[in-house]
């Protein structure tokens, strides 16, 4: 009786099934490599802006347990159209991506600082919206840039010490630079890629 390895034995059969299963998972995995349909409807961003305004309004009514424990770095929100329009799209996208990263870091710090549980939902929602805007940018085929890293500072950043300032920056950033970038995205222009 032969005791050599048989190609159709139980072991090989199981390996084949496992391989096939991994291939299927790899193929259907929702990840950064999968192409996304361009999200050009600005009503999505407007929804995020409205929710950010709600969070800012809620923070203004907070009396206690809603302060930042430390200074947080936030992006500059002001837009000079004379300067903005000179920048090309990748530069604009880089500035927006950097600012979103800074905001997410600041929101995380705020989430850990405030003790008012009523505002936790607002903060969590803002964090989810920032992540979603990142997905929208990815769908518009903007080049992804690595995060600037902790402690980076520059002309495009500044620091805030209060939660209300942070949320105000959050709103202004979405209304300004993010909205200008998305409204002028090449993927959403007629005949654009």
């Amino acid at each position: 009786m032969q005791t050599g390895l048989l190609p159709y034995g139980p072991f090989w059969l199981g390996q084949g099934v496992l391989t096939l299963l991994l291939m299927l998972l790899e193929w259907t995995r929702p990840g950064l490599t999968s192409p996304l349909r361009p999200i050009c409807d600005l009503r999505v961003l407007k929804h995020f802006i409205e929710e950010a305004k709600d969070a800012e309004a809620a923070m203004l009514t907070c009396k206690e347990g809603c302060g930042l424990a430390e200074l947080v770095t936030v992006p500059q929100t002001k837009v000079d159209f004379n300067v903005w329009e000179i920048k090309n799209a990748p530069e604009q996208a880089k500035e927006v991506q950097s600012g979103l990263w800074l905001l997410s870091q600041a929101m995380g710090s705020l989430r850990g600082s405030i003790t008012n549980t009523a505002l936790h939902g607002q903060i969590d929602n803002s964090l989810r919206n920032i992540f979603s805007i990142g997905q929208v940018l990815r769908s518009l085929n903007f080049q992804e840039y690595p995060p600037p890293g902790v402690g980076v500072s520059g002309a495009e950043t500044w620091s805030v010490s209060s939660a209300s300032e942070l949320l105000q920056v959050h709103v202004n950033f979405l209304r300004g630079k993010v909205q200008l970038l998305l409204s002028n995205a090449a993927a959403c222009q007629p005949g654009g890629s």
């Binding site: 600005l42 407007k46 837009v79 300004g176």
Partner: protein, 520 residues
Amino acid sequence: MTNDHLKGLFVYCLLCCTQRTDVFGAHGWDTKVAQLLLNEPKNPKCFAEGLRDLTCFWEEDEERAGSADQYSFIYTYQNENSSECNVTAQPAEGSKNLYFCRLSQTQLFAPVDIQVFRDGLLIHNRSLHIEYVFLLDPPSNLTVTQTGSPGQLKARWLPPPPKYIDDSMMYEVSYTVAGSRTEQVAEVRASSELILRGLQPGSRYNVRVRVKLDGVSYNGYWSAWTDPVLMEMMPGDLDPLIVFLALIISLILTLLSLTVLLSHRRFLLDKVWPVIPTPESKFQGLFTVYGGDFEEWLGYSAGDLFLRPAYFYTEEIPAPLEVLSEVGLDSQLCSSPLPPKAQQVLDDGKEEKLKQMDSSTDGWSETPHEHWLMDELRVLHLLPTPQDPQLKSQDAYVTLNAQNHSGPEPLGDVLEETRPLQVLFDSGRTCSDSHSDLGSFQQSSGSGCLSSQSSFEYPNHTWSPKGPGYTYMAVADSGVSMDYSPMSSSKIDFMGKGVAYTNEYRNEIPAHRQPVPFAF
């Protein structure tokens, strides 16, 4: 990097130079100022017309007003140093002065602090977002057109500058019937056209539009209204649905009326167009065959005389029996002595008969006598069978005639004719049958009644009465039917030339003897 900065500075200077030409030349600037003076309570009153400018102004009474140099306008962006703007003055209505500051380079999406000083004293302080104080120009090129549908108009316009923020603009369309104060408004977002619905056909509408930013990323004040555009609606536009329903209803009503008319067409025709009665049905063939020629239809030509009368009588009821004769029976029937009364009657009848011979007419008109008829009947009654072997005891005949004492009488005089027969019946009626009608006869031995159930045969040749050419008929009553045998005198031998008209009469007397009508 140095080259990039120089390049950006060059472009910036170029843009600034192009914007200086329209510092205070904006369209409707005075209107905007007047609008903000009314609607904006804060000071300084600021508005942005585009993405790169900001105009602030405030109003001072003449008492407090000074020269423009006395005022300082200081603005500070977030995380930046303060900057100062040059102030200009402009006289206003009501002995007031307006002071302005216009920035040609702004930063949006960040708060800016504004402070106004007069002679070093802070008079106004305000923090605002420039993207929230947009006061745009009104839309341009407003056009109103017909859509083709009833009660609708289409309004189209061009959005005002700045560009690239069209999707953040919202419009308000106002439409009013010309001469009316009732204003209707419709709102539309991110679109530069609108279809107005529910308009009155045949009316004239004034349409105008204004614009404002939607408040999500940008906000501001309502712009001024455009110049109104007058548009006249098409008159008498009918809703297709109403027209269709009206057609359906009219069709249904038409079908119903037709159904009613058809169901009553004969009645209506008789009322509207009554049929003129024609005798054509009574005279078959008169109009169709003979073309209305009555004489021809009657057949006055030879050979048609006896055929035509049939048409007279086809639908007639059977003609009444007319049996008449002036039979000279005295030679035959007087073999036995008559009773004196009968003899006298017979003699009288002879004399009268002689008088009537000349006046008697042909054909059917006769003047029989009453008495000789009575005598004849009595004779027959009294003289049984030997004189007339074929006339048996149960046989009987009925002769009917019009009796007249004064002169000839036409046939059909009924009243007095009943007398001879009445006498006859009275004399011979001993039957158990109480029927008194003339049509029933009963005969029993010795009673004198004649049986209507017995057969009767009367020979045609055995009785040849004298006298003029009278036609008479013998009646044979078999109980089932009564046969009338036409008899004629010798003068006018109808029997030889033709057949006298006979009308077969059927006696439909049942077992219990129904009366049979006779005509006299």
